[in-house]
């Protein structure tokens, strides 16, 4: 229906950028953007005309902290049925991954949708079912709808949802990554709209473009950023108008406000970022795994959690190093034997780099 792969148009955008002889560094925060960039060789094409685009903390599975994984481990050992999206279950924790706990007799199940986890709870009335709710603003509404729909009493959510604009703010405030502009994530923006990004452009004078996921969307997004920089502008522009309205999905926002409260949370690779995560509103405490299993999870408060030795996922997520700059990349760390989450998730930049570039010079 929407074909945005026109080679002629793509070529003219690239030539226009090349003619300007610029050197800019952009960041996007979405694994799907990274996939499009790598799959179509746009990263090489753009680098050739002075544009570097790296992936920041745009992989929900990757930014989930070791502590959150350990919370699920504890619940798995206590006999709960553990459910989450496939990539999440494969991220190495302190000793093993949730997926591997199956070999120790734990009940761990991959689901496509949170509704599958509710169905598991309905078919296992005598057991507690915990859904590890990861994902950005794109995914959080599905958790909210499900909790509003009166799930069974034996269904619980371990809320790990995180919010993109506060993370972009944290990156700019930390100031250790040199950035000329952001390509904002299309499907996060489908939910939140354009407005939540605007204060960042005003405060840090950084241009942003919300872009879709076809090759032309990204090239056009880059062109719009370049134009803004050339003209000295710093605004939020929307390239993905076929799916993103200025106000976003108001229905989804209303239900998010009803079910969640924003809280300060850590992200992997980052210190605590103010108001960058969601926890369930107290009206939903009966389904909040952290409230209902507080006694079981409490011992984790006394523990400290470290990244796997040698893993540079934290720096990759902050845009400080590329996947290939990690000494473990492609050697000790591969998709079949990952050390860090960025190699596990199909949205992680190491995994994407490995899939598309491992055999290319």
């Amino acid at each position: 229906m929407f074909s945005l792969k026109d080679k002629h148009l793509a070529q003219s955008i690239v030539e226009k950028i090349r003619a300007l002889h610029v050197q800019y560094r952009f960041m996007h925060v979405c694994g799907t953007h990274q996939d499009t960039l790598m799959k179509h060789g746009l990263d090489v094409l753009l680098q050739d005309c002075g544009i570097y685009i790296g992936q920041g903390p745009g992989c929900p599975v990757c930014v989930t902290t070791p502590r959150e994984i350990e919370e699920m481990m504890v619940l798995a050992y206590k006999g709960k049925i553990i459910t989450s999206y496939g990539d999440m279950l494969q991220v190495p924790g302190r000793d093993t991954s949730l997926q591997q706990l199956k070999t120790q007799g734990c009940d761990v199940r991959t689901v496509y949708s949170i509704e599958d986890a509710v169905d598991i709870a309905k078919s296992n009335p005598g057991k507690d079912v915990v859904f590890m709710a990861v994902g950005f603003e794109t995914t959080a509404p599905s958790t909210a709808v499900t909790l509003k729909n009166n799930p069974p009493d034996n269904f619980f959510v371990l809320c790990c949802h995180r919010l993109i604009p506060p993370a972009l703010g944290a990156l700019l405030q930390m100031g250790d990554v040199n950035l000329d502009g952001f390509i904002d994530p299309g499907h996060v923006s489908t939910i939140i709209g354009v407005k939540p990004y605007e204060s960042l452009s005003q405060r840090y004078h950084v241009p942003q473009v919300i872009a879709g996921f076809e090759p032309l969307d990204i090239l056009m997004g880059v062109w719009m950023l370049v134009q803004q920089l050339q003209q000295g502008n710093a605004q939020v522009e929307n390239e993905y108008t076929r799916a993103v309205h200025y106000k976003g999905n108001i229905k989804a926002q209303a239900i998010l406000n009803e079910v969640f409260i924003p809280i300060d949370v850590k992200w992997r690779g980052f210190p605590e970022i103010p108001q960058s995560g969601y926890e369930l509103h107290e009206d939903f405490s009966l389904h909040n795994a952290r409230v209902m299993f507080e006694d079981v999870l409490a011992p984790l408060d006394q523990e400290s959690f470290k990244e796997p030795p040698g893993c540079r996922c934290g720096e990759v997520l902050r845009g400080l190093v590329t996947s290939k700059e990690c000494p473990l990349f492609g050697e000790q760390c591969t998709p079949s034997s990952p050390v860090g989450p960025c190699m596990v998730s199909t949205e992680g930049s190491c995994n994407i780099e490995y899939r598309y570039k491992k055999n290319r010079q």
């Binding site: 229906m1 929407f2 945005l4 026109d6 148009l9 003219s12 955008i13 226009k16 979405c30 694994g31 799907t32 745009g58 992989c59 929900p60 599975v61 999206y85 990539d87 496509y112 949708s113 949170i114 509704e115 599958d116 990861v134 994902g135 950005f136 794109t138 995914t139 509404p141 599905s142 709808v145 994530p185 299309g186 499907h187 996060v188 489908t190 939910i191 032309l216 056009m220 390239e239 108008t241 076929r242 799916a243 993103v244 999905n249 229905k251 989804a252 239900i255 998730s345 949205e347």
Partner: protein, 77 residues
Amino acid sequence: MCLAIPGKIISIDKKTAHAVIDYGEGTQRTANISLVSVKKGDYVLVHAGFAIEVLNEEEAKETLALFQEMLSSEQES
């Protein structure tokens, strides 16, 4: 994770707020439509089993036209 696939609404079950979505090439699945206001025949973006937005075909065509226009006007200037 934020991958969302476009598909066409084939039928709607209002009672359960679910719709059958056709993704092309013979693939059909149900999705929850609580987050959108839709009718049969609409194209939606589906993420993790939930339709998150209605796709605007007119906007899609306009985007392409706008690209062409922007690039050609740049060339003239």
